[in-house]
Amino acid sequence: MVESQHSINTILSFGAKSVKPEILEQLLVGRSPAANYLFKSVEGIVKNGNNQQILVIGQRGMGKTHLLRVLYHRCQSYIKNDQLVVAYFAEEEYGVANYFDFLIRILYALIRWEDIDKNTLESKLEELQDTNIPGQVSFAERIIEDYIADKPLLILAENFGDILNAIGTQEQGKLRAWMYQDKRINIIATSQSISDDFDKEDRPFYGFFNLYYLKSLTYKDSLLFLTSLAELDDRPDVVEHLKNKGKAQVKAIYELVKGNHRLLVTFYEFLKSDTLAKLSNHFIKTINDLKPYYETYIRYLPPQQQKIIRYIALSRKPQQGTIISKNCFIDQKSLSKQLSELVRKRLIEAITDQTDKRNKLYDINEPLLRISIEVGEHKEGITALFIDFLAIYYDENELTDKKLKFSDLLEKCESSIEKKEFQYEIQAIEKALSLKRYETLENTFISSEILNILFEVVKQKKYKEAFSILEREKHNIDKLNYSNILFRLYMLNEQYLEAKNLFLKFSDEFVEKKRLFALGALSFSQLVKTENSESFYLKGIEIFEKAEKNGEGSEYLYLAWGNFLAQFATIFRKDEDLFFESFSKFEKAIEYNSMNENIYIELAQWQFGLSIRQKDSKFSIKAFENFEAASDINPKNIRLFKLWGGALGFSSDYNIKDDSNRLKNFKGKFKLLSFKDRVSIWKIFSNVPYLYLLNNTYSILKIDIKHSFDELQHVLVDWINAILSSQLDTLNKADLTFLRKIAIEFKDKIPELAISEIYIDTYEDYKLNGNKNAIYELPKEQRLFFESKILKQPEL
């Protein structure tokens, strides 16, 4: 039996290799046929002298690691009897870039798992390191061949599709050549999907592997599996629970995770945490762990496929091809190609439409994928999902029950950390409760015909029409609903003033019940540009606070809140505490979603502003860190670069301590933008009168200009003019020499620069040499320009 809870957590998670074989066998629910098939293959290899190359395909969390682990364990007696050599790869074999690396991984695997011959192998490996590079491959092959001698070699590898993809076609060819030349090389590998590398005519491994698809667990298997977990976990109460009431819950879980092993383990924690506190911890942790994993996965899909996946995931139910085509703006023909690609990659699943058999519906195949996309997109991030989950999982009574229980615990609890956690649970439960109520509301909402129509119209963004329908039907809708809808329509139609005013008429009770505080607060934050009385801000802050209290906190609420406070502080020159409060809201927003670059950008802006105000570099350092953080999340955000570059320019002037890394980081990222993006940024920069920025980015600009004179010729001219006319600091001789150099360098291609050059000369004469007559050397229009724009003398 399991000694500690901990091992249950790790059983089917990423570390399945370290769990005891007996436990793995015991948890083999639903996978026995797969394990038996694979083991039979191994028997064939050992006993009949056959070769086998098998690819096991299953989505994440379907128990591939588990399966290989079981298989490896079952091979032990063959290994001990010297009948088989197994190279068992680590789960994440990163950094396999070519065939040679692959061979090295085999050697490492042998060293790791075969204790007996460790030393010989290690010394061979050293010898290999001394071999000259061209000879290394054949030498490595030879070491392996010598080691296995006349025994068959079995390579167990995970994520084999990724490995092949990483090493590329030619290197795959070498691997296959080796397999044909050397008689006894077997592979049993896993992959999440089947890619071109297994299926295109010009790829070495075209039609080479026997395919074995893992199937999702059935509901029955899921129940069995959870029961096994509970038994292992030594929790007779949970086992009991699963025989009775728990069944219904497992149904709910099953619907959600579609028989995915890893997720079932996750939800096992829920089953048993009924009596424990901290429902949310496990949920949030798991989802958070998985998120980046999926993000990288989607990132490598072609854009159209990404779009389709996102659309289907967020729709939350199977969608028709035509609808997808419309919403993703992909024409039918390419859509069906992309869809079938996605089906092949097993990312989506095609289902026959029961209402119309000729139609197909498409759904996300993998619940984890859907959840992780939702976490990314969902306005309220993980919390919302958790609340959703609670709402599906428990009925209203249970939720109320739980809430009471947690409240009790809260009373008794001493530690402040725990207190916080309980509060969080209670909040989440409350939200789940209100969601349940809201859902019933929503249902009446949808079922009413008028609202149905409205809903459609709004979906198509035809707000005008929506307004007139609402007016027309005013008498058929109850008053509160009417105001609610009107308010939302105002928000949608960006009529924030009307929205705000209407909002202020609502009773707090109504707002609370309908959870409208956040929207109300947003209406305030949208009005900062036009409203500037102190009372407006104070009222706004009050609403933000209420929204938080009402459990409407979200990434967006806090983002808006942060901005709102900072704006307030700036306009009314409030003391710094208010800024600090604003920053803490941004931090809150980041807690909700650490992958939204906009939060970092906004925060950085205000931090930089504060640092200028304080004439102190403390916050500018933070600001630049946040710019960098934003660029790590989204290296393509144009607005970011505009602000970031601007801030760099400013910082030169404000005597804020310079840090050469700062520039390097900026330039490094800036270079990675597309040419087109950079063009739009150059245009902005050319209005920022900082020689410092020009000076430091010139090397990049130069290349871009050479790339396209047409688009960038004005940038140089404008920029030089802007710098000359800046009153902020006087340029010295070296500065002017630099500007002149630029003008001369490009004046052949950009004739206007010839004039810039004249201005530069005149500037030097006039300002540095004190020759006020210099301007009279200029033709009249130039003189006028120079006087009004560069010297900023009022026109006569």
């Binding site: 039979k40 056959n50 061209p134 054949s138 050549a177 295109k200 039609g207 026997n210 395919l211």
Partner: protein, 414 residues
């Protein structure tokens, strides 16, 4: 008649002593090889490599058919797949032939001296893993080194009074990869050696088998078109075309599979074997695929229904290997677009016909004006193994080579 042995279904490699069937093919091949070199071409996964591996195995273990015992054939199989330049090819030859030394006492000292003469490199360890010619300064003389290596082998060979078959598997695809990477000069260099020196080497008892899933002709045609290449490196090489398994061979393979742990009712077995043969057209790849599905999807039960259901999966299920997609892929990968379109049209029409179609009749049915171009496309499809041809009274008739391919084309493409 041999007795069946247990063999798990596989579409990957098979140990050389377990490769089934192909006895007749091997006899034919060896007869050809007595007097000349041979080129083996077929589409992918048709069993080329396994045939050649078996041939080599039989020769080297003295198991060759009786009539060849006198010929003293030995054979060495090389797969050129993924080799990136001549240096790697030479490395492969020398490294692999090291194992051969016991038979032939091949003496690489000539090569060794030769290299030393040219480059005055003091320590080139020949035959060992440290031996390598990848260094850039060798590049200009690869051609000579390559030939020297072969000549060393041939000289020893001449003394033994036997024949050494060098099997160059995936030679065309390697050249094609080089071509795609802009290394056509090196490719042409290799082709030149093989052209200029082949006869010399053959006289000394060396035989070559070039083998690949794309015809060496496809490569040559591309070189002719793109680089005005005029050599004829495969001149006088007999082209050997692979056939599907005969019914006997198919049955034997099935028997082996069955022994690995399938269930079949005794009275249904013969019928089932017949069915497998019929549906797979005798292509071993599909025989194996059917059995693989029988084990994974149908719990090792061989019944008529299950066989048909497995076949359905092969033809229709997107989860299975797109086994037939190569028919399209090949046209896209190796031919220019206009040619491809033309060939697609031809295949579309032929896929709807059950019998041989006469060329002129085809011309009337098709939207191709240029009769020469049509002829050329037909010829390409013929030599690329899509079609087979009959000539009756001077008229040419065409048809899909494999029924199973035709069915697929009709359902999925036409």
């Amino acid at each position: 008649m041999q007795t069946p042995f247990p063999l798990l279904p596989t579409i990957g490699t098979i140990p050389e002593n377990q490769i089934t069937g192909r006895e007749q093919d091997i006899v034919k091949l060896l007869r050809l090889l007595r007097s000349q070199s041979v080129s083996v071409e077929e589409m992918r996964r048709m069993g080329k490599s396994l045939l050649l591996l078996k041939l080599a195995y039989l020769c080297n273990s003295n198991l060759q058919p009786e009539e060849f015992k006198q010929d003293n054939f030995k054979a060495k199989y090389f797969s050129f797949q993924g080799k990136q330049n001549l240096g790697e090819v030479i490395n492969l030859l020398i490294n692999e032939l090291k194992d051969f030394k016991e038979w032939h006492q091949i003496d690489f000292s000539k090569t060794y001296n030769f290299i030393k003469d040219i480059f005055s490199v003091p320590e080139v360890e020949i035959g060992g893993a440290k031996f390598s010619l990848n260094l850039p300064e060798y590049k200009k003389s690869w051609k000579d080194i390559f030939f020297k290596t072969l000549e060393d082998i041939a000289d020893t060979q001449a003394k033994t009074n036997g024949k050494l078959i060098l099997i160059f598997d995936e030679l065309p695809i390697m050249l094609w990869e080089w071509y795609k990477e802009g290394k056509h000069e090196e490719a042409i260099e290799l082709l030149d050696i093989l052209r200029e020196r082949r006869q010399v080497l053959e006289k000394k008892g060396i035989r070559f088998i070039y083998c690949g899933s794309i015809g060496i002709k496809v490569v040559l045609n591309t070189f002719r078109k793109d680089f005005k290449y005029t050599g004829e490196p495969t001149n006088e090489m007999e082209e050997f075309s692979l056939k599907p398994f005969s019914e006997n061979e198919s049955d034997f393979l099935c028997e082996c599979f069955i022994l690995s742990g399938f269930n079949v009712a005794a009275d249904e077995k013969q019928l089932c074997l017949k069915k497998v043969y019929g549906l797979s057209n005798g292509l071993p790849f599909y025989i194996s695929t059917i059995f693989n599905l029988l084990q994974t999807e149908f719990d090792y039960n061989i019944t008529m229904n299950n066989i048909e259901a497995a076949y359905e999966l092969i033809i229709n299920d997107t989860k299975q290997h797109k086994a037939f997609k190569q028919l399209i892929d090949r046209l896209e990968i190796y031919y220019p677009k206009d040619k491809k379109d033309e060939m697609m049209q031809i295949l579309n029409i032929l896929s709807k016909e059950d019998h041989f179609i006469e060329e002129e009749l085809l011309y009337t049915k098709i939207d191709i004006d240029n009769n020469d171009s049509l002829k050329q496309s037909l010829y390409t499809l013929l030599s690329d193994h899509y079609l087979i041809r009959q000539v009756i009274e001077g008229k040419r008739y065409y048809k899909f080579k494999y029924q199973i391919f035709k069915e697929w084309w009709k359902v999925n493409i036409a």
